[in-house]
Symmetry: C2
Subunit: 667 residues, 2 copies
Amino acid sequence: MPIARPTGRIPEAAWTSGIRELTEPWKGALGCLGVAVFFAMTIGIISWQALEQPPEEWMLRGQASGMLWDRRRGALLLRALPMGRPLVSITVGSVPASEPPPPRDRCWQDGTEFCYAWEEEAELRISLQPTPAPGTECYSVRWNPLRPDVVLKDCFSMVNVSWYGGASLCAQRWPLNSAESPEQPFVSGDFSKNPTGYGPVLERYFLGSTGVTVTVAPDVSLVLSLESHWHFCLGGAGGPLHYILCISPNITTAHRHVGTQLAGQTRALPDTTLLWSPIWQYDGPVGSAAKIKRGLRSLARRLKRHRMQEGVLALGEHGTAALATMDHVPVERRKRHGAPHAWDPAMIFPLRLSITLSPYASIAAPLFLHLLRDGETGYWLSLQPRYGGCSIPLLTTWKGQLCARLNITNEAALSWYLSRARGLRHKLGATYVIFEGAEGNAFLEQAVSPPAELAGDQYAEMLAAALVKLGNATVISVGARSSHLPLFVQMSPLHSDWSHAGLKGLIPSALHYSLLGYNFFIPDTVGGSLAGDTPGDPELYVRWLQIVTFLPVMAFGTPPWLCCDSWVLNLTRQCIQRHRDFVVPVIIKYSKEWLSSGYPIFRPAWWLSPTDPTAFTVEDEFLIGDEVGNVETISLKGNLGKYRASCSCPLLHALFKYKAQIEGAQN
Amino acid sequence: MPIARPTGRIPEAAWTSGIRELTEPWKGALGCLGVAVFFAMTIGIISWQALEQPPEEWMLRGQASGMLWDRRRGALLLRALPMGRPLVSITVGSVPASEPPPPRDRCWQDGTEFCYAWEEEAELRISLQPTPAPGTECYSVRWNPLRPDVVLKDCFSMVNVSWYGGASLCAQRWPLNSAESPEQPFVSGDFSKNPTGYGPVLERYFLGSTGVTVTVAPDVSLVLSLESHWHFCLGGAGGPLHYILCISPNITTAHRHVGTQLAGQTRALPDTTLLWSPIWQYDGPVGSAAKIKRGLRSLARRLKRHRMQEGVLALGEHGTAALATMDHVPVERRKRHGAPHAWDPAMIFPLRLSITLSPYASIAAPLFLHLLRDGETGYWLSLQPRYGGCSIPLLTTWKGQLCARLNITNEAALSWYLSRARGLRHKLGATYVIFEGAEGNAFLEQAVSPPAELAGDQYAEMLAAALVKLGNATVISVGARSSHLPLFVQMSPLHSDWSHAGLKGLIPSALHYSLLGYNFFIPDTVGGSLAGDTPGDPELYVRWLQIVTFLPVMAFGTPPWLCCDSWVLNLTRQCIQRHRDFVVPVIIKYSKEWLSSGYPIFRPAWWLSPTDPTAFTVEDEFLIGDEVGNVETISLKGNLGKYRASCSCPLLHALFKYKAQIEGAQN
């Protein structure tokens, strides 16, 4: 049946509503408004959902902590469970910020691994590691660049986290939050060559005050930059970046569980008799062997006169070389000049002698030219000619001279060097041998890519391992993966002033060295050995002396009778006595603990109060074991003889009686 | 009006056809077959069209030639128009073969440029260049890598094309189709350091027998490999690759239009009086200056006795250094040893003296140590320490000794060196100064990246430019973008045998040097100066002598009276006379043509018959200008005194009368 089409006239219903629209306009407006509100609400809800989706997304969840992705900042975020306390935030600089966050796990579904690849950029793989100790949880973070020009860079936030460890700096800070350093290879170095670089004692280990540790794998070609109070960044220098993040309940537990395991289990003690012996640097005339001999005897006589005859006379590298050639002077010339026949260590008895060597040979030195004539170019670090032929020594500078550096990877060269050191020690009757110049990578310093066996700090590591063959009375200038070896470490020189490059850096350095396992360090000579703002300041000398009394070895450059009044000489004598009677026994006691557990001997304020935020930034106090601290000596400049009675840290009571004694001696 | 639907019964037509299908089954089968054939044909045509689409596609079309893309091999193909004769095929190794061929021009539509980018790989831009001369057409080919790990490599086919130019080789070939060389930087080198490397005379210029030239831009960090009888490859060493391809009607025109323009227009002649003077290398006792003096006088007396007193006595580097120190010998020692006071060039008159210098200083030499004490480390090529400080000399080897190399970019060092050379020349009364060791890049040889100002062959180029200040009586051991300078070029040493590294390489080398613009070369000493398979072979000596007679300068190491019988001595005298009377005037004549037009003086067989395929592989003949050739002397080993009457090359008639004279002299 066809439907009747209404044409020509308006139906009743439509007509009625038309009339109503005309007569009740507010109702139409209300309808419009309703529709508009409905639309606005819909849009609002959608955009609220889009904007207000949780800014953090789960990546990997452990027992006590979880790793999240912070999509606003493009950062990995580690939070403690179950409360969600933030432990560390790692800004990822290697992948584009515009990229969406990792959507979800692409790896096996057992929940212990997370992977994601930013296409053509980098690949991230995070996995839960076996627990090293109960209460500590570790994540392996592994970045792989997918293009050769991608430079991986992970930046660890310093906001609300104090960081320790890493590399020593010219102006050492504790914590290193206030330190600043441009991006450069994480390789030990010499501050005299590169003052803004990294120093001789470093480990690929960073400790955060929230109980986090960062340990970088040894095969990573690492670069590090420090941006004060903001973050520090680890970079992969063109290759992969791989580190282990561990979380412990607090900072002390973290270091006990992770930091003490850095160098393995077999630790050994150096010759601890050096702790009882102050070191007197020979600073007298250099030139001929006879001059040096006279100088050494005169210094020994002086020390005897001032009743400080027990100790070590330290002869520098030039002096050692000069004294070593003594026997080579032809007999007739010796007679003509009236010089006695050879050096005899009995001349300075009961003082003992230490000599100084370095792995460098000046290209103008007869030694170098002699070896060269024998065709032994392989004895020195060399560049390999591209088209074959004998290797060509890579020159470098050492103490202002053009030198070649011992090729530590050449076994013949190494055994020649060790037997030469042994021979010199025997010939000069030296008890201790100091090896300078072990730090640094001669290739990287000249922007030449090193051979694989000498990448990073392998040189320092290999030299330290080799020097152990000379016994345990050896001092080396570097510490890199060698904290377990029975060697003393010479602290890098400090400036003769009150700055962090001088006196203020002494305790931070001691804490840094000890934290990384280098407890048997020899601090710089009292008063500093580099020119500073206040050379010859008696107050600086006294403060320095007081701190050094509580450190492993007391070393003197300028003797007290040259620097200051006679009361300082008396104080020096008393401090040496106090060091022997009180400090060394405590060090010896805790060195046993170090041998068994690896705990540092010189401990920061937070060691006993790991949850007290004020303890994290104390850089002028330390404990020896759990007993002794050195309080507020540095902040008292200009106030000689007046000590504050209060102590900001309630943990360090033990010191006070010793401090009082020093004060008594002074006044 | 409703349409009547037919329901309930089958229409007539359908019924009839049904009956037919039942009664005539072959027709149905035929229909099926027809349909199948139709389908098969369709599929066949489609696949034929797909497979048989033209394998070459137009990229860019010039007036006389066109560039095509060969989609089967992934190669650029240059064809002559209108006949389509293939000129050169360039296999492109840097982009994936699986990639489809460039679809079409993405650049401006004016038809002079073609561009294509292989995504994330490389970008190609080919453009027609302004015509350098009528009949010659040039294309600029420019590859840009789009990722840092893409290594660009274009391989020029040697199939049916003979190639010339490029770099000199230890065993020089003409053409270089049969030469073989691994991929290495296109930098001048020393065969004693790298026998498989590139020699001291090279230009970024390759000439093909189809009339094609390849000129590589100077800013390209170029690597070259030669794979004999297959192709040679130009590579960009990580950076862009840019070269100019030019097409001329034939090879001679190509070289006239392109090859002669390599070094610009302002050419200058060296001191041509050397052409008349045979060079006698002093090979006598070395050691003290007095010994050398006696040796030089004795050689001069001998030459006088044999009536060959006109020429040059060449003193090597060690001899020069020894003679230079003569004045420094203390007077009393001189008197004791009875040596006269100083060197006087009048002692060897009318012979003249040439001395030898190099830009190397032994690190054991007093000169080096003295400059070092003055703090002049900048006088030597150095590595810059990454963290500042004074530069550290980069050592290298020179004649078996560890040496530093003059820093040519240091103006003070260069002027010191030039004034030292001037002083020595004056002091020893030398007419000529030979500079050895100018070739090579000391940085690249040790796989160290050179500073920008010393990339590639800049060292050789700068040294050559600087030596012009000493006048035009200077010999240098290298040729790299310096063919326009008034310098003689010392040819690299050859082996004393009949191989291509010895006698057989002499004419190919002469042709190579001259093609690249180095016409004033000094061939290696008669008989070869390096140990070979047949030392002291009189026949080799005579053949060598005969070839060298027709080359610019005759140089002798072993004098003929030491090598062979007296008839060889007579022959030597006659050859020297012939060289002076006949060859030198021709060389002088064509050197004027070289000055004005840049045409080579020593020309290959194809110069006058550029379309004769047999001429391209003739490596034992050459022309001086358009006149003289040296015919078949090399292939006659073991046949002393008997020359073939026939000549394979019909162009070289002029030689015969001179050859006949030599034969006459011999018999």
